[in-house]
Symmetry: C2
Subunit: 332 residues, 2 copies
Amino acid sequence: MANKTIYDVAHLARVSMATVSRVINTPSIVKEETRNRVLKAISELGYKPNIIARNLAKSKTTTVGVLVSDVTRSNVSELLGGIIDIARMYKYSVKIFSINPDEPFIESIYEIVAEQVNGLLCLDDELSDVDVEKMKTILDENSIPFVFGNSYYSGDGIANVSVDFEEASYILAKLLIDDGRNHIYFLSTKRRYSVNMAKENGYLRACKEFGITPHILLSTGDVLASTKQFSDFFANNKKIDAILGVRDSIAVSFVNVAKKCGYEIPKDIAVVGFQNSKYSLLCQPSLTCLDVPIYDIGAVSMRLLTKLMDEETPEKIKIILPYSIIERDSTR
Amino acid sequence: MANKTIYDVAHLARVSMATVSRVINTPSIVKEETRNRVLKAISELGYKPNIIARNLAKSKTTTVGVLVSDVTRSNVSELLGGIIDIARMYKYSVKIFSINPDEPFIESIYEIVAEQVNGLLCLDDELSDVDVEKMKTILDENSIPFVFGNSYYSGDGIANVSVDFEEASYILAKLLIDDGRNHIYFLSTKRRYSVNMAKENGYLRACKEFGITPHILLSTGDVLASTKQFSDFFANNKKIDAILGVRDSIAVSFVNVAKKCGYEIPKDIAVVGFQNSKYSLLCQPSLTCLDVPIYDIGAVSMRLLTKLMDEETPEKIKIILPYSIIERDSTR
DNA sequence: CTGAAAGCGCTTACAG
DNA sequence: CTGAAAGCGCTTACAG
């Protein structure tokens, strides 16, 4: 059984295809009697308009692209959750693109443009300023609005939805300092994410303000590697009484090693995380951490994008969402 | 600057649009000299074919749909990783759909059909057989091939890529039994996923075969709730010397509670998980568990779908991938 | 309120 | 090897 077209419906309802199109798009304009006849035909045939054809006719699409560097990165799925829910609400469908590591970043943008998306949500957090500028140029040329979700790119005219990680990190560090800690380590990732840079800056600001020497430890995401790294760290007998871990998995690895080396948490070392993931609850002791509204960041990004696509002018193009801090057993 | 069309290129290269189309789609057919002229025009203009128009003209799409019940479910992002990589390889783009909880499941299928996807990957694991049949009917009517990834639906003509969780679970249970354990609990989810049912069946088979009384404990995904549930469990002084946890987060919760109640792992209680997630490594002690090739399941599902979309007849429509078992400190 | 017709940007037999 | 033309399934001024 082939796909029904608008012709089939028109024929059955004995009207022109234009009328069918109208009952679908602007039903109020059609006389009730005709409208009902058409509606009946539609449901009898199980007709669904071909969205491709509609898009072509309108020369616009109801698709947004979501660009990620890697879907498996933490937070991406929760961001997607918010994005998809709002997209449905506004009748957009979402195409997902990941960056092809085998070609220059900008090629990915060209490919997305060719797919005729109506807007782009960029969840990539590792872009150079140059790439961001190039991307902006191409997208602007094609009148494709875009917004960055959960990342920091400061350029003019670049829409951004995030949490103030710099401030949050500052507050977290201050919390440790107020508790009398002064050998505070900042555990971050080897890869330079804009978000983690912001956290680092907040930490550095607090250190500077309170006259504490900053210590930064970078590790990969790999559990075994960081376990080894942290063991070496303790073998060198470094002075330490607190850590801030940008990722829960890193913080938990560290806690495990510290405990094995005879340190008590939080007595000897206080621990603070930046994600409120299940890890933070499953960890022993449970982790004090930032609670970032990841789902909301996704949802708000998408909502902002819908405004941009409708050529509304939103009051703000850079949105900072509130966060909270959850104190648990790894600090006191 | 508006989008360049094939006309602009044709004009610049002084050929017809048909020729331009040919150098894009079947370049070998065009005389080299003409081809080069067209290529030059294409790159001068930065022309990219409008994929919507192409799809309409070919009345087919190069888009596959991926249907999930909820993107944030564990494994979904890793499945997506495999799917996206293979999709890129075969030049498909992927649209992601989640099930709208506010309407009957089958409506979601109609919406996907309207989006003109060329094939569908279904990652939903909680469908009733009735829904699966309905879905198959609709999709068949519209000649949209589909495959289930990481789930079990046994119907005829239903493509499926998974791991033999029934067998794996049987082997895991047997491993505990061989170790002399005979009060083995199976911790599963309240929601009935086809995959978890398969695990349960393997466990039950082992119990039956070795004359052990099966015990099944169902919990929600919520850490706090399951912590309470497990505390109550121990308060009732149940006999227990081993558990199989379908999810790592559940297994870790259980371990935490058991330790707090004075049990030693694995001496008093051996623990086995079904996911090789970071939790299983971060847990103290580290968890013995199944290693399921989630990424591969996504990749193979997508590959199978490309064959189906190309109307090849794959030798097998139900693919069982190999797994392995990683023994760590939670058993011995 | 409704129909005829042009157009969206491509592809692809059909001629030549 | 290349062009003219029809067609993919819709939408939307333009008439009436």
